[in-house]
Amino acid sequence: MKVKYKYDEKIIELKETANGNDIEFSIKLIDSELKKNLRQVRDYFEENKILTDIQFYIHPNKQYQVIARSDFYNEFIIQLFRQQLLKEIVWG
């Protein structure tokens, strides 16, 4: 079951698109203070020993591209919530 989420549009913009077995997220941080929260999410996935679970790409102007393997989708959303980048999550 996939997790559904809501976010505060005043601090973050988030778009997701399916891409084969991956889900690609486009994230823009409106509040620069949240950079370190997103860094925490990245560190969480980089500290495990799986290399292709979630991959982060940093573009200029606080734009982030994240490629998530579909089996790590929920975990990624949960980590975004944990770092207060999402307002609400529910089982969909």
């Binding site: 991956d22 860094r39 020993k49 799986i50 290399l51 292709t52 991959q55 790409y57 940093i58 573009h59 200029p60 591209q65 490629i67």
Partner: protein
């Protein structure tokens, strides 16, 4: 042959067999073999300790500490993205760039460390471009072993040679092996680029997305980066000057490591020591003691004597024999114990009448380092990359690797044969 020599050969062969089968971790086996040599009275504890090459161990430990701290800065990801952008996100050119970067990295860091740094970045770049990562991973395996051949600190066999033979300094390796290694690298990469060219295509949109990446954002700790670069620069300059300064390469590496720890403070101390591969360090200790049993009982001298008889003491045929035997052996067995056995044997050949040992040392280095490219089990870097790839769902099978890598290894050794002959033997 004495009873002690026969027992030493028995312990050595049993240990070697266990190392080859990989049923039990090689460190446990090597240490058990070394301890058996002492317990069975083949060699006393004092003499065994005397045979442990602390220069090799110090050099490895120092470099592992430097890399452990430097990798925390995001520097390696920065360099890889920068290189990918320099070649405009073109997958074929990225394959070449990452191959060259891996070789350069392996020239100064140990091969396993280099591939452990390169593989995550490779998955990241290939995922974004939606291209198959396997051609990149195979190129990096081959490049890491070739790059490691080019310097004294690049590959354990070279570290051992540099430590065992005073004349084989850091600069001697640069003068004798760097150019030929990079020539072999370019030949290998060119052939790989031709083989894989059709698999390495992506869309303009994905290339544009890669070109838009901000690699500067990958640097996570600028202050740590500056300190790491200072220590790394001092260390590399130290390697170039170590002969002039009359200090061993281990002193240079350990000075660099502890200069870095002095600059960063103790918060990195535990982390750095956690990342030192103690299993590798103890593997070396076990091997040094194991081989010392063969040295002290005269087995190595007998083998050297036999080899000199076989080649008639002719330096040309002995060099070529060492080059090819080292390469074929290293393709199937660990090159570290092989080189540990060969070093005293070549030294003994010197005493048996072969006066020009230089071509023999370079043959051993080239054969043992490049031979590792022959099969998937030929070198630690190969096994590590294949293991990481399999875990992510990309299989590099023994057969698939052999089909590409073995002919390339043979070609590399053929180039080395010409090089050794033209440079040292005529």
């Amino acid at each position: 042959m004495s009873t002690q020599a026969i027992i030493a050969i028995g312990v050595f062969l049993i240990t070697y067999a266990f190392i080859v089968t990989e049923k039990i971790h090689r460190t446990i086996i090597a240490m058990a073999g070394g301890i058996m040599m002492v317990l069975l009275g083949i060699i006393g504890q004092e003499k065994a300790l005397h045979h442990i090459d602390f220069n090799t161990l110090g050099l490895l430990t120092g470099m592992m500490i430097i890399v452990a701290i430097t990798s925390e800065t995001g520097l390696f990801k920065y360099i890889a993205i920068w290189a990918a952008k320099k070649v405009k996100g073109e997958p074929l050119k990225i394959l070449i760039a990452l191959g060259i970067l891996t070789a350069l990295g392996s020239a100064f860091l140990d091969n396993v460390t280099t591939v452990l740094l390169m593989v995550p970045v490779t998955f990241s770049i290939t995922r974004q471009l939606r291209v198959n990562p396997i051609p990149f991973l195979i190129t990096e395996i081959l490049a890491s072993n070739i790059g490691g051949t080019s310097t004294l600190i690049g590959d354990p066999p070279n570290i051992m040679l540099g430590s065992a033979v005073k004349e084989l300094t850091f600069m001697a390796f640069i003068n004798n092996l760097t150019a030929i290694s990079f020539f072999i690298l370019f030949v290998n990469i060119a052939i790989l680029a031709v083989i894989y060219r059709k698999q390495l295509r992506t869309s303009e949109e994905l290339k544009a997305s890669l070109m838009d990446l901000d690699e500067k954002e990958e640097i996570t700790d600028k202050s740590l980066l500056v300190k790491s670069l200072i220590a790394l620069s001092f260390t590399i300059i130290g390697f170039f000057l170590h002969q002039l300064l009359h200090i061993e390469s281990a002193t240079v590496a350990l000075a660099g490591a502890f200069l870095l720890l002095l600059l960063t403070g103790e918060k990195y101390l535990d982390k750095a020591f956690d990342k030192v591969e103690w299993t590798t360090i103890f593997f070396f200790i076990g091997l040094f003691v194991l081989v010392s049993g063969l040295i002290e009982t005269g087995v190595i001298s007998l083998l050297a004597d036999y080899s000199v008889h076989l080649t008639g003491g002719d330096v040309t045929s002995t060099s070529i024999l060492i080059l090819w035997v080292s390469a074929i052996a290293s393709a199937f067995i660990d090159n570290i114990p092989f080189v540990a056995t060969m070093i005293p044997m070549i030294k003994d050949m010197g005493e048996l009448g072969i006066h020009n040992l230089e071509p023999l040392w370079w043959s051993l280095s080239l054969g043992a380092c490049l031979g590792g490219n022959g099969t998937l089990i030929g070198a630690s870097a190969n096994v590590i990359v294949a293991g990481l790839a399999a875990k992510e769902g990309y299989s590099i099978t023994f057969g698939k690797f052999l089909l590409i890598a073995f002919p390339l290894m043979i070609l590399s050794i053929f180039i080395c044969t010409i090089y050794i002959y033209l440079r040292y033997l005529i």
